[in-house]
C-alpha cells in the first residue's frame, strides 16, 4: 500500500489529467485491424491492433497474425492476439509454425498450444521434449502437462529418466499437471501411479517430494489414510510436514484419530506440526489428545498444544485450561489464559465464576481479569461479591472488571459499596465506575438542547442544505434521535450518500455529531436519570465524610453543578 501525501496525490492527479488519452483499445473493425497488420505501419500500431484482436478477432485475422510469429518484436503480440481466438484455425496455424520457429518464439508458440490444450499437437510437442534448447524442452513439458492425457503422461514419463538436469523440474511439473487432471476423473489409478513414481525419485527436492506425497494420499481417496499414517511414523521431517499439511485437505474422524494417535510417537518438531494441524482441522475429536499434550513435555510443545486446543473452541477444554493457569511455564499459563478469555459459553462463565471462590487470591485475581476480558454479564453477581472481598487487590480488580458490565440495575448496590468502602483506593475505583455509569445512562432533556447549526448534504464541500430550523423544531418537539434521510430534509445532492452534521449545546456544553444518510443522529449528553440522582443524594446523607465527598463529586459531574 502506498501512503501518499496530499501533495503527491495532487501531482499524480495532475499528471493523470495531462496524460495522453487512452489509445489502442478502441472498438475498430476487424478488417481495419487486419489491414494495419498487413501494412507497413509502425510496430506500435501493429501491437495495438493485436491488442484489440485479442478481444474481437476471428479466424479471418489468423493469417495476418501468423505472419508475425517470426517477427523479432511482434511475435509475442501475434500470439497475444491468437491465443484467445476460439477457432481451430489458430491451433492449425500454431502447429504449422512449430517447424518454422526457433528459440523464444518457438517456446512461446508451444506455450500457447498448451494454454489452448490443442491435443492435435501431442506428437509434435512430445518430439520437442528433448530439444537442445532448454526453454523449448521445458515449454513442451509444461504444455503436455496441460493436456493431461495418457499419451502426454507416457511421453513425459519416457523422457524423465533422460531429462537434462535443467529440464527435470519442468518434466515433473508436466507430470503433476497430468496427474491432477486425471485424479479428478475415472483415471484416478493413473494419477496414483504417477504420484507413486514421483515418490520413488531419488534426490528429489523437497517440494517435489511434497507434491508426490500429497497427490498419492489424495488420489487414493479413503485408502490414502494409510499412506498418511505411514508418513507420520516415518521420522522423515519432510514427510511428516507433508502429512500434517495434507491432513488439512482431508475430512473424517478417522483422519483426526490417526493424527491424534501419532502424537505420542513423534519428536517435538512433529508433535508441534501435528498439534497445529489438529487445531486447524477444527474437529473436537482431537481435543483429548491435545489436552494430554498440554500436561508434560517440552514447553514449546505444550504451548502449541494449548493454542491448538483453543482453536477448537470447545467448552470441555475449560477444566484443563483452568488447571494450567498457574503453570510454572509462563508460556503455557499465558496460552491457557488467552484460551479461556476467548472461549464462548455459559459453562466457561460458570467455571471462571467458580474461580472467584478459590482460596488462592492469585486464582481469584486471574478469574476477575478473565471476566473483564470476556465481558460476561452473567458474572456480574460474582464480581459484586468479589468487590466485598477481604483481599484489597481482589476488591479493586473486581470493581474495575465491573466497568462496562454493570448497568442501571447494579447502580444502588454500587453506591452502597462506595458508602461502605474501606480504603481510598476502593472509593476512587467506585467513584470512577459510578461516574461512567451515570454518563452511560444520561439522556438530555429536550429543553436543555440548543441547536446551533445543522447541515445535510454532500459534506464537507459538496452541495448541502441548511436544516438548522428543521432540526431545532424536531428537538423542540421532543425528539433526540434525528433520522438523516431525504424524507426529513429533502435531497440537496442527488445520487450522493449524504451526511447530517449537527452542532448543538447542552446547558452550554458544545457538541458536534455527524452521521451518514440513513442513520440516526443521537443527541448525547446531559443529566443522569433522576432515579440515580435521588439514590446518590440519599446515600450522601449520613455517609462517612470521605464517601460523602465522593458522592457529591459524582453528583456534580453528572448534573454540572453542586447539588
Amino acid at each position: 500500500m502506498h501512503k501518499l501525501t496530499s501533495i503527491t496525490i495532487l501531482i499524480v492527479a495532475a499528471s493523470l489529467l495531462c496524460a495522453p488519452p487512452p489509445c489502442g483499445w478502441a472498438a475498430e473493425s476487424e478488417d481495419s485491424l487486419i489491414a494495419v497488420l498487413n501494412s507497413g505501419a509502425p510496430d506500435k500500431e501493429k501491437a495495438d491492433a493485436c491488442l484489440v484482436l485479442a478481444r474481437i478477432g476471428t479466424a479471418k485475422a489468423v493469417p495476418a497474425l501468423v505472419a508475425l510469429l517470426g517477427h523479432e518484436k511482434l511475435s509475442h503480440m501475434a500470439r497475444y492476439a491468437l491465443e484467445p481466438i476460439p477457432d481451430p484455425a489458430v491451433d492449425a496455424a500454431l502447429r504449422a509454425a512449430l517447424g518454422k520457429l526457433q528459440g523464444r518464439a518457438l517456446a512461446g508458440a508451444i506455450g500457447s498450444l498448451g494454454v489452448r490444450r490443442d491435443l492435435s499437437a501431442m506428437g509434435s510437442l512430445a518430439g520437442l521434449l528433448q530439444a537442445g534448447d532448454p526453454q523449448v524442452a521445458q515449454a513442451a513439458a509444461r504444455a503436455l502437462g496441460s493436456f493431461g492425457t495418457q499419451a502426454a503422461v507416457a511421453a513425459l514419463q519416457d523422457v524423465l529418466p533422460r531429462a537434462r538436469p535443467e529440464n527435470r523440474l519442468s518434466v515433473i511439473e508436466g507430470l503433476l499437471r497430468c496427474a491432477e487432471s486425471m485424479g479428478a476423473g475415472p483415471e484416478r489409478a493413473g494419477a496414483t501411479a504417477i504420484y507413486d513414481r514421483l515418490r520413488g525419485l531419488k534426490e528429489a527436492p523437497h517440494q517435489v517430494r511434497f507434491a508426490a506425497f500429497r497427490g498419492a494420499v489424495l488420489a487414493r481417496g479413503d485408502a490414502g489414510l494409510s499412506v498418511l499414517v505411514e508418513a507420520l511414523r516415518s521420522r522423515d521431517p519432510i514427510l511428516i510436514r507433508a502429512a500434517a499439511r495434507t491432513s488439512l485437505e482431508m475430512r473424517g474422524a478417522d483422519v483426526t484419530k490417526s493424527l491424534a494417535d501419532a502424537l505420542g510417537g513423534l519428536d517435538e518438531d512433529g508433535q508441534i506440526l501435528v498439534a497445529e494441524a489438529l487445531g486447524k482441522r477444527g474437529d473436537v475429536a482431537g481435543l483429548p489428545a491435545l489436552l494430554a499434550l498440554t500436561k508434560k513435555g517440552e514447553p514449546i510443545v505444550r504451548v502449541a498444544a494449548v493454542r491448538a486446543a483453543s482453536e477448537l473452541a470447545d467448552a470441555s477444554a475449560v477444566p484443563a485450561f483452568v488447571g494450567l493457569l498457574n503453570d510454572p511455564v509462563e508460556g503455557v499459563a499465558g496460552a491457557a489464559r488467552a484460551g479461556l478469555a476467548a472461549l464462548e459459553g455459559r459453562e466457561v462463565d460458570a467455571a471462571i465464576a467458580a474461580m472467584l471462590n478459590d482460596a488462592d487470591p492469585k486464582t481469584r485475581g486471574l478469574a476477575i481479569d478473565l471476566i473483564g476480558q470476556r465481558r460476561a454479564t452473567g458474572s456480574v453477581p460474582a464480581l459484586l461479591k468479589a468487590a466485598q472481598s477481604d483481599d484489597p487487590l481482589v476488591r479493586i480488580a473486581s470493581i474495575r472488571a465491573l466497568g462496562g458490565l454493570a448497568g442501571a440495575k447494579e447502580f444502588p448496590v454500587l453506591v452502597k459499596l462506595l458508602v461502605a468502602s474501606r480504603t481510598a483506593a476502593d472509593r476512587d475505583a467506585l467513584e470512577k465506575l459510578l461516574v461512567d455509569l451515570c454518563a452511560a445512562n444520561s439522556r438530555p432533556a429536550a429543553g436543555d438542547v440548543v441547536i446551533r447549526k445543522a447541515v445535510y448534504g454532500d459534506l464537507p464541500d459538496g452541495k448541502s442544505a441548511d436544516v438548522t430550523a428543521k432540526v431545532a423544531e424536531m428537538v423542540k418537539q421532543g425528539s433526540l434521535s434525528i433520522d438523516a434521510t431525504n424524507t426529513n430534509f429533502g435531497d440537496p445532492a442527488q445520487g450522493i450518500t449524504k451526511k447530517l452534521l449537527v452542532e448543538y449545546t447542552i446547558r452550554g456544553v458544545a457538541r458536534t455529531e455527524t452521521v451518514n444518510e440513513g442513520e440516526s443522529l443521537k443527541i448525547k449528553g446531559g443529566k443522569a436519570p433522576q432515579a440515580f440522582i435521588e439514590i446518590l443524594k440519599s446515600a450522601a446523607t449520613g455517609a462517612p465524610a470521605e464517601a460523602k465527598g465522593a458522592l457529591e463529586r459524582i453528583l456534580q459531574a453528572t448534573t454540572g453543578k453542586a447539588e
Binding site: 510436514r241 493454542r307 482453536e311 473452541a313 476467548a342
Partner: protein
C-alpha cells in the same frame, strides 16, 4: 554463490544452538510458537539453524519497507536480493548487511539463476510491481520457496488461478500483502460483520485508490537509450508483458496507469479492500456475480452483487471513511467502518466498541493468528498452515478486481460465474481473463 552450511550467528554474533533456542522460546512464551528448523527440512538435510532464510525479488520503495518490517522478526535472516536494477540490488544489500552485521547478502539480476542457485532459501519476498507478482510467485514456489507477495498479486484471473494451483501442488505457504487483514481495527470490523452483530449484512463498501483511473493507458512513453543490462535489465523488467521501448520513467514507478503493467485504481486498493470486505461477508471463497458499469473514469460507485444478494460498492472518495483503504459494513442492526489512521473503528453504536478487545481476542484464539501480517506469514512457514491472505483469498479478491476492471473497460454490465471462473454469455469478457505471456516468461 551458495553459502557454507553451518551454525548461523545471530545479530550479536552469538552462536545459536537449535535446542537452546527452542527452550528459551518456550519458557518466555515467545508468541508465535517457534518450530525448530529441522522440521523445515531443507532438501531433507537437517539444518541446525533457528532462522528462516529469506530472499527478495524486485524490492523498490514498498518492498524495502516490507523487508525492513520483516527484519524486525528475530528469526528471519535476509540473504539474497534478485533485482533487475543494480541500484536496488546495492541498496537492499546495504540494508541487509547492516542489519545482520555481515557482508553475506548476495545479489542476482536474473530470477532463474537466483532460484536455481539459492536452494538454501526458505522464503522470498516479492514486490516487483503488478506485472511480475504472479509469475515470480509461481517460479519461486516451483523452486520450493514460500512466498510473501506484495499486492496486487495477479494481472489476470488466469494468473491468480495459476498461483493457487502452484501453491497447492507444491505445498507452499503464500501470503499476499493485504496487511489490514491482520490489523486490529479491520479485524474488529470484519468480525463484527461475520458474527452477525450487525444483523445480516446487506452492503459492504470498499475503497478504491484516489489516483489513476480504471481506464488505462495504452500509449508508449518515448523511447530512450537502454541502460546496460547490468544497470537495468529491461528485457527482464518487462518479463511477461508486451515489449515496448525503454523509458526510465517506467522503472521509477511510472508503470502505474499502463494497461500492460497495472491493475488500475481498482486493483491498487481493491486488492486490499475487496479482501477485507469479502472477509466480513464470508465471501473469501467466491467473487461477486454481477458488476454494474458506472459511466465515470474510475469505477467509483460501481455496485457488485454476490450470489447471496449482498452488495459490495466500490467507493473512491471519503463518503464512508476518513483514511486510506477504508471499508464499511452495513446491516439492519448497525454499521462498522475502518480506514488507515483510525484510533478506533467508527461504529453506529458506542456500545459496540466496548467489546473491541474481546472481539479481537476471540479472533486470535479462534485462528491462532498473529495481528502482524508478516509474523503470520513466518508462523505459517513454520507450521505449514495457510496464511490469513493465502492464495485462495488473494485469487478470489483479485478476481473481483479483474472482473470490475473488465466491466469498466467494456463499458457495460457483466455477469460472472465464480465457480466456473467465467463470464456468463460474454465471450468478449472471457477473452480478457488471461493475456498471452511473452516468451520465455510463460507459465
Amino acid at each position: 554463490m551458495r553459502e557454507k552450511r553451518g551454525l548461523r550467528k545471530d545479530s550479536s554474533g552469538t552462536r545459536l544452538s537449535r535446542r537452546s533456542f527452542v527452550k528459551a522460546a518456550g519458557a518466555a512464551l515467545a508468541v508465535p510458537v517457534f518450530l525448530p528448523a529441522r522440521a523445515l527440512g531443507r532438501d531433507g538435510v537437517v539444518w541446525p539453524s533457528d532462522r528462516i532464510l529469506l530472499g527478495g525479488i524486485g524490492l523498490g520503495g514498498r518492498g524495502t519497507g516490507v523487508m525492513q518490517w520483516m527484519l524486525n522478526e528475530k528469526d528471519v535472516q535476509f540473504l539474497a536480493i534478485c533485482d533487475v536494477r543494480k541500484e536496488r540490488r546495492l541498496d537492499i544489500k546495504r540494508i541487509a548487511d547492516q542489519r545482520h552485521f555481515s557482508k553475506d547478502c548476495a545479489m542476482y539480476g536474473d530470477i532463474h539463476e537466483f532460484l536455481a542457485e539459492r536452494t538454501d532459501l526458505d522464503a522470498v519476498l516479492i514486490a516487483t510491481g503488478d506485472r511480475w507478482h504472479a509469475l515470480a510467485s509461481i517460479l519461486a514456489m516451483r523452486a520450493g520457496k514460500d512466498v510473501y507477495s506484495e499486492k496486487p498479486s495477479s494481472m489476470t484471473i488466469a494468473e491468480g488461478r495459476a498461483v493457487v494451483e502452484t501453491a497447492r501442488r507444491y505445498g507452499r505457504v503464500y501470503q499476499t500483502g493485504t496487511q489490514r487483514l491482520s490489523e486490529p481495527n479491520f479485524v474488529f470490523c470484519i468480525e463484527m460483520a461475520r458474527s452477525g452483530r450487525l444483523g445480516k449484512v446487506h452492503t459492504a463498501y470498499a475503497h478504491i485508490a484516489p489516483w489513476d483511473a480504471a481506464e488505462m493507458r495504452h500509449d508508449w512513453l518515448p523511447g530512450q537509450p537502454e541502460p546496460s543490462k547490468e544497470d537495468v535489465d529491461w528485457e527482464n523488467w518487462l518479463g511477461p508483458c508486451p515489449w515496448r521501448p525503454y523509458n526510465g520513467e517506467y522503472v521509477r514507478g511510472g508503470w502505474r496507469g499502463h494497461y500492460d503493467f497495472h491493475t488500475s485504481c481498482i486493483g491498487e486498493w481493491g486488492a486490499h479492500t475487496f479482501a477485507q470486505a469479502q472477509a466480513g461477508i464470508d465471501a473469501l471463497d467466491t467473487s461477486p456475480v454481477k458488476y454494474q458499469y458506472v459511466p465515470n473514469p474510475t469505477g467509483d460507485g460501481m455496485v457488485t452483487v454476490f450470489a447471496n444478494g449482498v452488495k459490495m460498492i466500490l467507493s473512491r472518495g471519503d463518503k464512508y471513511w476518513r483514511g486510506s483503504c477504508g471499508m464499511r459494513f452495513d446491516g439492519p442492526d448497525g454499521w462498522v467502518s475502518a480506514a488507515d489512521g483510525y484510533p478506533q473503528p467508527d461504529v453506529s453504536s458506542p456500545d459496540m466498541l466496548k467489546d473491541f478487545a474481546k472481539v479481537v481476542q476471540t479472533y486470535v484464539a479462534r485462528t491462532q493468528r498473529s495481528l502482524n501480517h508478516v509474523r503470520d506469514f513466518f508462523d505459517c512457514v513454520r507450521s505449514r498452515r495457510p496464511t490469513v491472505a493465502n492464495p485462495e483469498v488473494m485469487h478470489n479478491s483479485m478476481a473481483t478486481v479483474h472482473a470490475a476492471n473488465i466491466c469498466m473497460w467494456l463499458k457495460r454490465d457483466v455477469r460472472y460465474d465464480p465457480v466456473k471462473a467465467e463470464f456468463i454469455d460474454d465471450p468478449e469478457a472471457n477473452r480478457l481473463r488471461s493475456r498471452g505471456m511473452r516468451d520465455p516468461w510463460i507459465i
